[in-house]
């Protein structure tokens, strides 16, 4: 019983301790003119879905509700933001050539279709980011049309 208590206390201290470690926040002012939403005519429901489900890791602006500020969630998020932005940054959409856009759209469609994005570990703590079956179809249809228009 004593050992359990000690472990609990150590964990608690560690948990509190890591809250004070500095983190880099993915935040910037304003949205560049080359943003996906600004160069494409995106219907508002899709716009909303993408903002909520994708933009945290695929743009220069992450929304930080309280749980995203709590460690180790924030660390976990930081790593994924870095990786996510390297793959695709919606804020810089129009800097891509048509070839690159088609490539990215194809990947977006595949990732959403297969349920790989948004990541389970992310939707677990960020419930509203999850896609319903209907939303999947809706977003994919939009992305397909966009791809074919390029």
């Amino acid at each position: 019983m004593k050992i359990v208590k000690i472990i609990a206390i150590v964990l608690l201290v560690a948990f509190v301790g890591i809250q004070f470690m500095p983190v880099e926040r993915n935040q910037s002012d304003g949205v560049p003119k080359i943003d996906f939403m600004l160069v494409n005519d995106v219907p508002s429901d899709i716009k909303n879905k993408l903002k909520v489900s994708c933009y945290d890791c695929h743009s220069n602006n992450t929304k930080y509700p309280w749980y995203n500020k709590v460690q180790p969630v924030a660390w976990f998020l930081e790593g994924h933001i870095k990786e996510g932005k390297a793959e695709l940054n919606f804020n810089e959409w129009d800097s891509l050539s048509s070839r690159r856009k088609v490539s990215k759209l194809r990947s977006i469609i595949k990732q959403i279709e297969s349920g790989e994005m948004p990541m389970d570990s992310y939707t677990l703590i960020h419930k509203e980011a999850a896609f319903s079956e209907e939303e999947i179809q809706q977003v994919i249809k939009y992305m397909e049309n966009l791809k074919d228009s390029l």
């Binding site: 050539s97 070839r99 690159r100 088609v102 490539s103 194809r106 990947s107 595949k110």
Partner: protein, 186 residues
């Protein structure tokens, strides 16, 4: 003695017919070259770095045909390296721009292939194949290539092969011979 004479005669005949055959082949070859248009002739000065890219691409394709994820991953990283080593400086400004775009896109796909499971590798291979086909349209190649097409995979997908025999990289052993030759390049 008679035997010796016979064999000398036979040798002479052989040599003559051989030389004659070669001459004919050379003429055929010249003829073929003459038929080619000017731009193709320019492309005949094949680009060694583009050939290296193609070589890696074909190795990658063969690994996918063989359902070999690990090999495909290795070939993917080799391909990424050859793509990065590509030198477009001898091309026109417009071609350079196009090539830079192609190489950037292809590199990303090759890098993903290097770290994905077979399903993803095949997804990326589709776009990669388009990039490589577009690259060959600019750089040319010394070999005859066949663009093959499988109508089933992802609403229809193409790839390049050095052989006109169809071996499907999108399905591998599941549907090895699904597809057809769509176009002959060169």
């Amino acid at each position: 003695m008679k035997n010796l004479k016979m064999s000398i005669a036979a040798m002479l005949l052989l040599t003559l017919s051989f030389a004659n055959g070669q001459e004919k082949e050379k003429m055929n070859h010249d003829h073929a070259t003459m038929k080619m248009d000017h731009s193709k002739m320019m492309n005949m000065n094949s680009d060694a770095k583009a050939e290296a890219i193609l070589n890696d691409y074909f190795n990658l394709k063969d690994a996918l045909v063989a359902d070999d994820t690990k090999k495909a991953a290795q070939e993917g990283s080799k391909l990424a390296a050859s793509l990065k080593a590509f030198d477009a400086s001898k091309y026109t400004a417009e071609e350079q721009k196009e090539l830079a775009d192609i190489i950037e896109d292809a590199t990303e796909h090759a890098e993903h292939i290097a770290k994905s499971d077979i399903g993803h590798q095949r997804e990326h291979f589709k776009t990669l194949s388009k990039d490589i086909t577009d690259m060959v349209a600019i750089t040319g190649t010394k070999n005859t290539l066949y663009q093959q097409f499988c109508p089933m995979y992802d609403k229809g997908s193409a790839w390049l092969s050095k052989s006109d025999e169809v071996r499907n990289p999108y399905y591998g052993s599941k549907m090895l011979k699904c597809g057809k030759v769509k176009e002959t390049i060169n």
